[in-house]
Amino acid sequence: MDIQVASVIAAALAIGLASIGPGIGQGNASGQAVAGIARQPEAEGKIRGTLLLTLAFMESLTIYGLVVALVLLFANPFV
């Protein structure tokens, strides 16, 4: 297979696969946060702050995949 074609497919796979795990994780975390707010509405501010922080952490996993994809597209060492 042509190395460029392989790179494009690999980039698509990288970002696609890397978004599965964080997607599940973020859904879980948000659900738990909503449950927490429903149980304890007075703790909403604290829960929201922590939730945003943890979401950013999970998001960065996808971003790692994106970085790999970008490397494959723009700075590919094999092309």
Partner: protein, 143 residues
């Protein structure tokens, strides 16, 4: 994209310089201001505590005065009530006495009139009985 060069160390040095600079012109003076304000607030806190205690003592004093005034007024009311009761009892007694005396006077008068009436009646009884006798018997006989 991943081309590391002299940008990295220069950026690090530049960042450290920025930290030192901001420490001098931003963090130190403003932290000092914040700390001073906190101290000021804390000292203001104690002053306000004193004022609060004073206010509470004043409130207590006022409450004591109010309680005393209430007690006094209660006393006054009781006294007045007692006085009023006394007055009414004496008046009632006087009235009752008067009534009694009037009644006695009235009964006496009645007795007197009764006696007078009886006396007149007795006189009339004599004359009447004589008239009856004259009517039933002979008039001469009566004489």
């Amino acid at each position: 994209m991943f081309d590391f060069d002299a940008t990295l160390p220069l950026m690090a040095v530049q960042f450290l310089l920025l930290t030192a600079l901001l420490n001098a012109v931003f963090y130190k003076p403003l932290m000092k201001v914040l700390d001073e304000r906190e101290d000021y607030l804390r000292s203001g806190d104690t002053g306000s505590k004193d004022k609060l205690a004073k206010a509470e003592s004043i409130v207590k004093e006022y409450e004591r005065q109010i309680a005393q005034a209430r007690r006094e007024s209660q006393d006054l009311i009781q006294k007045a009530q007692a006085e009023a009761k006394e007055i009414t009892t004496t008046k009632v007694a006087a009235a009752q006495q008067e009534v009694q005396s009037q009644r006695e006077a009235a009964t006496q008068e009645i007795e007197q009139q009764k006696a007078a009436a009886f006396a007149t009646l007795e006189q009339q009884v004599d004359s009447l009985s004589r008239q009856i006798l004259e009517k039933i018997l002979d008039p001469e006989l009566v004489k």
